[in-house]
Amino acid sequence: MSELVVETQDLTKKYGNFTAVDGIDLQVRKGEIYGFLGPNGAGKSTTIRMLLGLVKPTRGDARIFGLSIRQSPMEILKRVGAIVESPSYYGNLTAVENLEITRRILGADKKEIDRVLEIVNLSQWKNKKVKNFSLGMKQRLAIAQALLGNRELLILDEPTNGLDPAGIHEIRQLIKNLPGMLGVTVLMSSHILSEVELTATSVGIISRGRLLFQGTLEELRRKSETEICIEAHPQDKALKFLESKGLKVKARGNRLFIKKNSLDAAALNRALVMEGFDVTHLSTERKNLEDIFLEITGGDAL
C-alpha cells in the first residue's frame, strides 16, 4: 500500500443544525488522481475548504503529508496548490503579476513563472490583464498558480466547471498528464461522472455530506456486473422459488434481479416456466457507472 498524501478522520462541518460534511474519512494515495464526485451541494467544496484551512472543521481532523492542517497549516500549504471553486485571480493585474504574488509568498525562483505559463500554454498572453481573459484562460492561470513552486499535491475544485468542450478537453488532458509529468498527486472534485471516469484513477463518492464509496475506478466498475432481469407472475412466489434454488434475488418494482455470474438465462427461464410461472419479460442488463452511482447515492442524481 502506497503512502497516503491526504487522510481525514471523521471530518465534520456543521452550520447550525445543518451538517454539510458528515464524518468523512478520505484517503488519497501518492501519485494518483483522486476524483471526488458528488451532486452539487453534497459537501465537496466544504470538504476541500477544510483541507485547505479556509473553513474550520466542527469535528475531526485532516492530515496532509502526515501533518495536521490545524497544527501545521504553513508547512502543508507550501506544498499544496489549490483551486477553490471558480478560478480566483486579481483582475486588475496581468497573468505575470498574479503569478508574482504566488511566487513571492512561496519564495520561489523567478523562472518558475515562465515554466508554469509554458505548461498551461499562456505565455503569449502573460502581460494582459486577467479580467480580459476568457474563462478557459482564467482556469489555466489558476492551474498555473497551483503548479508554481513544484507543489506535491494539487487540490482542484471543479477544474472544468463552466468551460466549453474544447476547454474541458484541454484541462482534462493537462490534469491527466500531471502525475506522470511532474510527479504530483491530484485531488479533484467534480459533479460530472464522465469527467471523473475519464480522468481519475480513484474515486470518492459523496452525497448529502457522507462519503458513500471510496476506491479505485476498477473497484467501482466491478460493481457493474451483469444482472438477469425477470418479470414473472406471481412475483412473490417466483422470488421464493428462485431463492429456494440458492440464488440471491433482489426485487425492484415489479421485476426481479439476479446477478448473472455463470447463470444461464435460458435454463432459468425454463425452470420458471416448468414450475408454472408466467414469464413476461427476461433480459440481461449491464449496469453502467451512472446506475452504480445512483444506486450508491440512493437516487441522488448528479
Binding site: R49, L52, G53, L54, V55, K56, P73, M74, E75, L77, K78, V80, A82, I83, V84, E85, S86, P87, S88, Y89, Y90, G91, N92, L93, E97, E100, I101, T102, R104, I105, L106, K129, K131, A142, Q145
Partner: protein, 243 residues
Amino acid sequence: MKKMLEVELLKLKNSWVLLVATLAPGFMVFQGVANFLRYYELFTSRGQNVWHQIYLQSSIFYVSAMLPVLITLIMVSIARIEYKSGGLRYFLTLPVKRSGVYAAKLIVGCMVCLFNVLVFSLSLLVAGKVINAPGSIPYDIILTKPLMVYIASLPVMIITFLLSINISQMGIPLGIGIGFALPSLLVANTRYWVFYPWTYPIMAALGGDFFEKAYFPFAAGFLIFVLLAFAGLRWFMEKDVLD
C-alpha cells in the same frame, strides 16, 4: 511582514483607488482656495492670516465630507480586490498567516489614507505659494493640523476596514461608511458628538482650542482603533472563508 506589504501594494496596481486618493485632496484645496479668493476682502478684512484662511476654507469641505468618504472608498476598494474574483480564498490557500494578511491589509489601507492627508497638506502648501500668501510657511497649520485630523480619523478607518474585510458585498460597508459620514457636521454641533466617531476629524480640524475635551478625539480615536483592530483580528482569524 515586508513581503506581505509588498504583495498588498502589488495587488493595488492599476487600481483607481490610488489615483482618487491622490487627486481628491488637491481638488478640495482648489475649491477652498477658489472660495477664499472669491471672498478675499471678507476673509482678510480683519487682518486674518491668509495661510489660516486657506486651511480653513479647504478643510471645511475636505474634513467634513471628503475625507470620511475617501476613507470608506479606500477601505472598500482594498477589500473589494479580494472579493471581486475570489482573490482572498485563493490567497489564503498560500502559506500565509491570516494575522499577517489582516495586518498587511490594514496597514496598507491606513497608509493610503495617510498618503491622502499628506497630499492635502502638500496641496495647501502649493496653494499658499501660488496665491503668494504672506509670511513664513506655518507648518503647524498646514502639516500638524492635518496629521491630527488623521489620528482623529482612525476610528472611521478601522470601522470601515472591518466592515469591508468581513462583508463580501461592498454595498453594505459603502452604504454605512458614506451614510454615517453625511450627518457628521450636524452631529458635531451637538454635545453628543463624542459618541459619533465620524465627528472626531471635524473636531480635530475645526474645533480649535476653545472647546472642552480638546484631547478627546485623539485619545478616544486611538483607543477605539486599537480595540477594534484586535477584535477584528480575532474575528478574521477564526472566520470561515466561504466567498
